[in-house]
Symmetry: C2
Subunit: 205 residues, 2 copies
């Protein structure tokens, strides 16, 4: 793929504004409080996502900044993630069911991680509609995090979500930070991954 084949968001086409305008910010207002009502709405959105056979193979650990569980989550973040995620109003750890309760080594479903991804996507769309930002991360010690929160062996801690609001920027340093955060998003062109007659044969060359 040549670099000019990558399309930046300047060319983002006609898709729903909630999808078009979402982006993953690393800059959060450290004073912003995510209300409990908004947290419920976010988790309700995730709850109503579709899943294979309506198996709902997901779970979440939720903590707002200042809660003891939040401190415990932060203590297990990688240094890179710990530099920005704790400023968000809430952290959410996402889990999918990887095995059976009776025999965690026996795979539960080929679709559990996929279904968790769907549910998280619904949560991010809901967040966007509430004026909140979500930045997903995987930079944490997965084994230690599972132990910290007594996650059973049949369940897999998958990603973390930082949920919050952008700060109102007041000085030049912050403005520079925000500008770097707003570098245009890039994606592969449709011709790279949408096929019809066979893999690699673009529907829209």
């Amino acid at each position: 793929m040549t670099s000019d084949a990558v399309t930046s968001e300047r060319a983002t086409p006609d898709i729903h504004p909630l999808l078009r305008d979402r982006r993953s910010s690393r800059i959060f207002d450290p004073g912003h409080v995510v209300t409990e009502t908004d947290l419920v709405r976010l988790l309700e959105a995730a709850r109503w996502a579709p899943s294979a056979g309506n198996s709902q193979p997901w779970a979440y650990l939720v903590a707002r900044r200042g809660e003891p569980a939040h401190d415990r989550m932060v203590s297990r973040l990688s240094r890179g993630t710990a530099a920005w995620a704790p400023q968000a109003g809430a952290l959410v750890l996402t889990l999918h069911r990887a095995g059976h309760d009776e025999d965690p080594s026996m795979a539960y479903s080929d679709y559990a991680a996929y279904d968790l991804g769907q549910a998280v996507a619904y949560l991010t769309v809901q967040a966007q509609s509430l004026g909140l930002h979500v930045h997903q991360f995987a930079g944490f010690d997965h084994v230690a995090m599972a132990a910290e929160f007594a996650v059973p062996p049949a369940w897999s801690v998958t990603t973390g979500l930082a949920v919050g609001r952008r700060p109102a920027l007041t000085d030049d340093a912050e403005a520079g930070l925000l500008a770097r955060d707003r570098v245009p998003r890039e994606r592969k062109p449709l011709a790279d991954f949408v096929f019809t007659d066979g893999y690699g044969d673009p529907r829209w060359p």
Copy 2:
């Protein structure tokens, strides 16, 4: 979980209408045409989903009813899925990158299936905004489907999506079919899967 702990959609709370009103219909208008423009919009929505490190570990095989590729997809569906999915205006097979091109047995990412799920969720939200329905399915011969479309070993055919529109129902038989299709959706209560201090300890008991 007792049956009265399961909440039906009558109690669906205050979430965005695109998420609240989505449902998986098995009833499609066999005369409805999904326009090529709408197909592009659906795939663009999937394209702009977030993914781990912006890896975009997804691909799609897309065919509208009447296209040769559609017949080839239908020929690999299970009997149960073949009873309803072909009536939809389009079928989409979703793929995630499971391994590396050089060594397909080496796992590509812990998040590829999860990321594909996110992208499909964006597609379903976009569909909802266009007045289209998406019903996901896994009832097909995954090995034969991969061979049929020359899918490389590093890629995994994951789910299928039937995309279309509900028919305008004109007789009682169709109305009965639709009524059965509209049975209230059910989900586990939040107390079953949203925790804070530890797995199994509900945030909202």
